[in-house]
Symmetry: C2
Subunit: 693 residues, 2 copies
Amino acid sequence: MTIDSTLRKALLQPRTIALVGASPDLAKNNSRTQRFLKRFGYNGRVLPINPTRTEILGERAYPDLKSAPGPIDHAFIMVPAAAVPQVIDQCCELHIPVATLFSAGFAELGEEGLARQQAMVARARAAGLRLLGPNCMGLINVHDHMPLTVNAVIEREELVPGPLSLISQSGSMTGSILSRAQARGLGFSKLISVGNECDLGVGELADMLVDDDDTGAILLFLETFRDAGKLAEAARRANALGKPVIAYKLGRSGVGRQVATSHTGAMTGPDEIAGAFFREHGIIRVDTFEGLFETAQLVIGHRPPRGKRVSVVTGTGGAAAMVVDRLGVLGADVVGPAPEVIASLAEKDIQVSDAPLIDIPMGRSEGGRYSAILSALLLSEHTDAVVSVIGSSAQNPQIIVDRVLQVEARNVKPLGVFLAPRADDALVQLQRNGVASFRTPESCADAVNAYLNWRAPGTRVRADAEVHAAAQIARRFELDRLSERDAGTLFHALGVRIADYRVVSKASDAVDLMGPCAVKLLSPDILHKTDAGMVALNVAREAIAARAQGMLDEAKARFPEARIEGVLVQQMERGLAEMIVGFRRDPEVGPVVILGMGGIAAELTKSITVRIAPVTLDTAREMIGDVRELGLLRGFRNLPKGDLEALAAAIRAVSLLALIDTRIVTDAEINPLIVKEDGRGVVAVDGLVVFET
Amino acid sequence: MTIDSTLRKALLQPRTIALVGASPDLAKNNSRTQRFLKRFGYNGRVLPINPTRTEILGERAYPDLKSAPGPIDHAFIMVPAAAVPQVIDQCCELHIPVATLFSAGFAELGEEGLARQQAMVARARAAGLRLLGPNCMGLINVHDHMPLTVNAVIEREELVPGPLSLISQSGSMTGSILSRAQARGLGFSKLISVGNECDLGVGELADMLVDDDDTGAILLFLETFRDAGKLAEAARRANALGKPVIAYKLGRSGVGRQVATSHTGAMTGPDEIAGAFFREHGIIRVDTFEGLFETAQLVIGHRPPRGKRVSVVTGTGGAAAMVVDRLGVLGADVVGPAPEVIASLAEKDIQVSDAPLIDIPMGRSEGGRYSAILSALLLSEHTDAVVSVIGSSAQNPQIIVDRVLQVEARNVKPLGVFLAPRADDALVQLQRNGVASFRTPESCADAVNAYLNWRAPGTRVRADAEVHAAAQIARRFELDRLSERDAGTLFHALGVRIADYRVVSKASDAVDLMGPCAVKLLSPDILHKTDAGMVALNVAREAIAARAQGMLDEAKARFPEARIEGVLVQQMERGLAEMIVGFRRDPEVGPVVILGMGGIAAELTKSITVRIAPVTLDTAREMIGDVRELGLLRGFRNLPKGDLEALAAAIRAVSLLALIDTRIVTDAEINPLIVKEDGRGVVAVDGLVVFET
């Protein structure tokens, strides 16, 4: 679904709002919305609904929605969960287009609440009523003076119009972000608390904001993904239109995921999956709280960078070193000025060295020199972003003008300013003049690094002949969980080389493989074959027939019920490294492909790299670059080089499982995939494919 | 040297200050100190020194120090570097006890400046004059109204007395930290900018502050270590007296170290060495800028914790999840309440679960419930620190009182409060009432984690019989760089088992070793023996004699000048892992012991762990715990266990090289040290020892 203009108006610019459960008691949350609407000058009709009152805070009150004068555009529901169904019924009867539910007591409480929520959604869907929440704080349309929210923070805040729009899965964070950003000179357009997202979700709402002319950047505060597909589409549209989407997401640590899970009632996978999602769809991800809004001004009007290079200019070494040090930790390339920049500055009698920190001890009157250096860097092809760090003199507004605001080229590429002392006025002065300003070295480095890691959305990979062939093969399998032989057949169809094998059913079957082999029983009913003694490795050629017959005999005796399809005799393979290439349909973000070290190293290091599937060859190469241990296979210390191109091709092939449409693959894995010497390819030794049941 | 009471008074409470190079020009830095002294009510005599003026800013000026009315306690020197020597001469002649040099143009400029600085120090030392700086901003004694500084920040700041004292290697950071901390309700006692530390250094000044009654916590902003030994002693004394020392140090990244190096003219080693230093001497290390001062209130009055456990309480899930998530990333143990806490709260009719985040959705009037939970946790034995996260309502001062300030147990263990919205007043309100308050989730988690990682200074290890024996052996070696045989002898004396070997000088020498051996030429003049073909591995027993003779013959032919001591025939050893155990006398912090994976893994992973040497067995065990790959040797997945106790003993043994006093070991390494199965010990296969020349 997308949000049409009728719904958008009802959501953001309703002419009549019903406040169901409004209260005159100023100590109660339920009194806030009405007060806020009045205080901030909402110019539509407000209808308090309360069966025990005829007047609330100076407005006539009505016992229920049906008694109130229609048409109502938007119902804001604050009654207890038990009373919600009858309110929803009335909304449906009255053809109210949208209801926002502050009411809690739904999916966030577990199974019973979830059932209540699902029943409510079913009722609303049938009648064409859209729902925001439940368990949300509401939404604010700043430009139209429409604070339809219970958030306590705006008791003490003004509403400053500006280009930021925020969608938050945490209701209270809308107020926290609003108050912090406004104090820094940044204004908002829309702030939307989505609560449980029973109907309207982050993706659909982001999609709406892509087309909102008052929104210059879309900020997301996320605990989970509930409609990742829609969010992906919205982010891609935003990117095409040059509107940045910036996300802060919880769940970097195990305990963080545990808390997010209990808080939202949703499951959250490893953080690498979220990272892959953001990267794939061109979403800028920040890692610090204030970075979420501080990054906006840095990136608005800019496109993803070509490299990861940043230049840092300062007149105060210590403070700038904090930013440089952290940029280094984050992996950004802090670069000194290019020779042509040094030369062009020398022509203006400004001497700078090529050191990574451009540190120019200076007096107050030398703003011209400083701004000339900033200009030269902003215009240089050899850097992707510029940071200016100002020390003690930052409290002087004229310094800010002289050093930064008079720089004509300041919008050519992202420019961020970190101020070392307390300098609240200067922070605001910079933001109001369109220059990103940062309060801490950590958020400055975080934002700049987030920009440097920003990439345009990945190319969509389409099904090719191999995928069509694999799809035909997949259709033929009867089981949901394929044997290693059948899994191998599917991987082979996608272009992965499989270790050579023969299936034998008696000792006299000829096995024409070279060298030692693995001998494994083929049976869909015996799952842990190694533990059951049904796998033998490194069996010499002359011993294969006897070992296979022995295994068949033993299996028949020990597992009389099991279906036995024969014995797989497989060429033993050796190489330079053993990898795992995995595929998983993540419950939140959908298909992903995973690369990690195989064998025991996998369980020990847990270092994996993930991308949204399917991937291009280029993305597969990038994944190989992510795995530190694979550095060994790049000709390190005269060690033999591995066939990393073949590995990239295999990663891409596995990722193509996402496109098979005859049956849905939920999990798959090649483990191990053996990487041989350069030119000799890779070979899959064992594999697993599980279809959706 | 330590700072005696005369020097301390001259430094911090001078009765007469001479401002050498004072200027009446308000636009110049040189005018600031005089204005500041006046503005903040300094009650001693101020003598401006300037050869071209008879009066400056209302004070009588003198052409030079000798013409000014003595005695002068403290000379503050602001003249250009070229004019400094004659000023120093006059200070010496007049027996002025201390001079602070704002003047730049010394060691920070390179060789020539360093020579100038060294000459100045020699002159001063001879006359008993102590120097602070050069290239420093001066110092501020807040309680005594003595702002002897050129820092521009205090043009716009008041000076608020409080318990923090700061020593900073970056001059401008003193102003930045002062302004930020004061705006947060934190006051200062002393702020000292040390510049190039040509004489008075961080360590000696910290030592002085340990005894300063107005100093409750010592903060350090560091770019390098110039007097690590004195700093270590000061930190240990501070710890004994219960006065926390908190450090922020640049150089976490390569580019950060490069910048610190160019900025200070000092060399800086890998950050792990700095970390080892802080840990060993009981210094709390923070990683965020604001964490440096925000941590003070958290730790003042507390001792190092027993565990790494922290409890987090909130009424606002999203904001608290930010803190929990980051604590998890940093490695803290976020723990739910213990059963007895749950039970005791249940008695008060307060229900909490054992989830790691204690999330209690609540209304405004329920502060009593909140504070009861905080109390119970602060009194619980099952957690080491408590964090409270307050959301939208943080802007209400009464909420702060109800939820936090009325908690009686709030000083029992560290309690930190993070406020999600902008709530500047509440931040100040908390700090003024002795509760640590945090402006960002990142600095909150950083500070709490820094506290949880704080350990009491390590036990000093003393020389034992093995060290004395090794010292006698070390004395006997003639070379500065020992052969593998001699290095082995030294390691063996310290208690490390060496792979069994024989030295042969002709084919007929009997070799009674079992199994295959390594055969290596012994010569101090052939350094890269493997490249020279002078190492053969896995030589079968029957081939050893011929291989040794062949090597001797070839060496004599190819390297006729080389001294040849024979051929080392060494038992080949196998085990479960190969480690490197290294020792190094770091130019900044002194002896350190290093543990890392051996072989190619070392160069690839670069994951090392470092401690100040010598170490106890317990510390050696801790180091083993730091190396992720050694998890394999703990009985993982039914793999054989490694002899990690023997590894710990070997690490300790190598670290004892620090105590050998007959000759100074600068570098040493066992590579590889083979770790065998549990009970079978470790064995050194190759080693290196380098003595100071």
